[in-house]
Amino acid sequence: MFSNVTVILFSFGYLALLFAIAYLTERSSFKNKKLSSNPVIYSLSLAVYCTAWTYYGSVGRAASNGLEFLTIYIGPSLIAPLWWLVMRKIIRISKVQRIASIADFISSRYGKNISLGSIVTLFCLLGIIPYISLQIKAVALSFDILQSPLAGFQENAAPFFQDTAFYLALGLALFTILFGTRNIEATAQHEGLVMTIAFESLFKLLAFLVVGVFVSYFIFDGVAEIFSQAAERGFDNLFVLQGEHGVSEWFWMSMLSMMAILFLPRQFQMGVIENTQERHLNTAMWLFPLYLLLINLFVLPIALGGLVTFGWGNVDADTFVLALPISVGQDWLAMLVYLGGFSAATSMIIVASIALSTMVSNNLVMPLLLLNHNFQKRNQHHFSNILIWSRRFSILAIILSSYIYYRIVGAQFSLVSIGLISFVAIAQLAPAILGGIYWKEGSRVGALTGILVGFVLWFYTLVVPTIISAGYLPHSIMTEGPFGLSFLIPVSLFGFKEMSYITHGLFFSLLPNFFCYLFISAISKQTSKEHNQAAVFVDIFKYSTILDSSIIWKGQAYIRDLKSLLANFLGEVKTQEAMQQYVDVSGKRVDDKIKADPEFVNYAERLLTGIIGSASARIMVASVVKEEEISMTEVLDMLKETQELKHLNEELQEKSEALRQATNSLQKMNQSLIENDKLKDEFISTVTHEMKTPITSIRAFSEILQDEDLPEEDRNRFLGIIIQETDRMTRMIDQVLDLERFDSGKQELEFQPVDLSILLLEACDSMAQVFKDRKIKLDIELDLHHSLINAHEDRVKQVILNLLSNAAKFASAEVCLRAFLVNGQVIVEVLDDGKGVPEEDIPYIFDKFYQAKNQTSKKPIGSGLGLAISKKIMDYHQGSIKMERKGNHTCFQLIFPAIENKSSHNINSENEQNTHSR
């Protein structure tokens, strides 16, 4: 077989490989963060669950109890689909609250309480150190077998400095310290470590599969052959579900392992703290159960093969995995198996000691140190060093105590039993954690009582028997009970003998724990801080986005104080970075002189929590913050407020949208008012400008007339012009006043039936001279049958005259006035053959501001106000006026509603139906 030196070389060589993987990963992670942040790596790292106990112990348990070994793998596989609910919630809470360990989680949930965190830490130490020592034992055991397989396991008599296991333990401690405590932030991820653990998981799986295949297909002729040989030798009882206590045993064991996979400190470390993305759970949910299936595939064949080969009781079943290859002379395969077992043991030792050291430093060392004010003052600038060294020292202490435990006690127990006792210890945390994330009423007192009761009973039912069997307590306790009270026999309380040792212990510790938690929580009152945390934990998915504003806090603190506090732990540079991040995210100002708002205090506390744990962070923050106690109702109100605030905010957004729309339309209205106002101004300026024209003429000619030498002829002519311009002036004033009256609605028109034909002829008569002067032909076509319209005669005549005079002005040769009936409407059209109004101006010609609106320095066409007034008049008559081009003619069209057809014999005019030509 191998010499001592060879095995040692391989062991340390393997450790060196781990160092290399961790080192290279951390170095490359600066370049490529993604390497360790991979769902497969994450899933593999969860397989830290499979320790040396799985590696060696499962075979041992299968050899004695058959399929029962599967229970502790069935539980995790069954609960894996639920990870999306439970694990994701725990991960979210831990990330948001910067929780670094399971003790931190519990203490944070129950009001960041120091005592609770310390107690959980102590119990975890009590529960896990034997478990670590178990791994050391497994390594030592396999080490010995590899050197002298036939000697079997012997009591280790060598002093520790000659014991290889001691140096391996030291090597592991060194590795763990180097790669597990680099960062002061306990919540920071250890990429190198995760890669190493994933590698170890892969390595132990491969080694176990190789030996499984070897045993099944090389030593034996297939799995079926093993089973048939085993059956021949009377081991067939191991093939089926069995055990002394049957189904209930399976149930309790599965329950136990379900809790273990969630709450074992090393599982919490790998599954929660080292988790980079929640969605990695999706992969882990199927990959991890698959891993468990693979690693258990060959357990039964190996166990049965060992039994067939060595017989019952000749070789420790825990060592079958090694003994089988050695028995057929496969030394190098045995070496691979040894290293596989070594990897299973080291991964557990490394992760468990990191997790425990974080708990010890954050929940035991720091709170104790910080509670001492003198210490706090003296060392405030060394905190980060103290912290990191306390963590390093804890790792060393934990691993060394495990070694000592192994040397003194551990050698006497089988692998499996110690592991299960640890499981039961950790299960005591389940009520407080699960209750904590789903039940707001769960209180600190309830959790504390439950955990204490659970641990006391755990100790009594599971640990005391081991002490008794080690000979430290009288054996009579096991047979007659303490002080002769038989119902207190540790392994059969109240006479329960139906259960196995472990199940009995689990039942009698967890159930009282659970009921104490429920009952005491129900009757006790939470403090405001507790309630706040409870609400945040239970409703984490609601709060994680608005967390900072939902934290209840009242008091006074200066940003400067908080900053220097942070600097003590983070250092100046990182503190500055953190400040910048806060400013970026919150958009708030961080000024040394101003007081910190609750959001900032909370941010600072969470930063510290990531480093020293929630309870210690609370103490530190409290040292610079003058906090006021807030009443329960205030807390409830404020929590309710944040939720209502969100709701309110949505409503507010809707309202502001409506308001914005209202503002918009108001702005539009205002705009049109301004526009109107502007138009009015321009109108006035145009009107006054227009009035200046006749006044200018009047003044000029008046001055000319002052010359007494003026010939009589000129004198008369100029006087005529003055009179004409005065008339023009008067007309303009009348028009403006008219328009004003129509606009303001003050104009009242009295209507009476009017024969439009007569009115039109009269208008033509009065314009006859104008047309004659301008040499323009006026055609009149009337086809009205003396229809009557309800009208104000003078006003309608004003419209007609306006149209005729415009036409006379712009026509080049002829104008046509025609009137006819269409569908009970009277239509009057005035057409001229002039150039017409430019296309783009047509929509504006009836607009009284038209002139002003399109005013440039170019003089507009038309008289200005005539058409605007005409439109008003037509509106008063419920009629309409419009303009269009008809062929080469500009056509103004008036439409009046007709009232009735007057009998043609009443008024018998010659002009009717005539074409009148002038």
Binding site: K692, T693, I704, D714, F718, T856, K858
Partner: protein
């Protein structure tokens, strides 16, 4: 002989100005809009142009700009009803030698034109 061009779209104002300047011995040209004025200027360049601003087709500003560009020596007088300060400012900026507002005093106008010519 002093040639003067009067540009206005109001027949009566044209008539009065024509009468006034003829009596003072000017050779008077008249135009009813800017377009006509530009044609006349090219035919026989006057010494002084009296310009209305608001006219159809081509306005007084354009006529003035044309004059200042092509016939720098021609004196331009705006005679307009536009009496706001910014209008006067604009007229001067465009290059008018005088800016008079309507209604105007005939004596003042004659004096100003004479002063401008000498």
């Amino acid at each position: 002989m002093n040639r003067i061009l009067i540009v206005d779209d109001e027949p009566n104002i044209l008539l009065s100005l024509e009468f006034l300047f003829k009596k003072e011995g000017f050779q008077v040209l008249i135009a009813r809009d800017g377009e006509e004025a530009l044609e006349l200027i090219e035919q026989s360049t006057p010494k002084v142009v009296i310009l209305d601003i608001m006219m159809p087709k081509v306005d007084g500003y354009e006529v003035c700009q044309h004059l200042k560009k092509n016939h720098e020596e021609v004196k331009v007088i705006f005679l307009t009803a536009k009496s706001k300060e910014q209008d006067i400012e604009k007229g001067k900026n465009i290059g008018a030698d005088l800016y008079l507002t309507k209604p105007f005093s005939t004596k003042n106008l004659l004096n100003q034109v004479k002063a401008l010519i000498n």
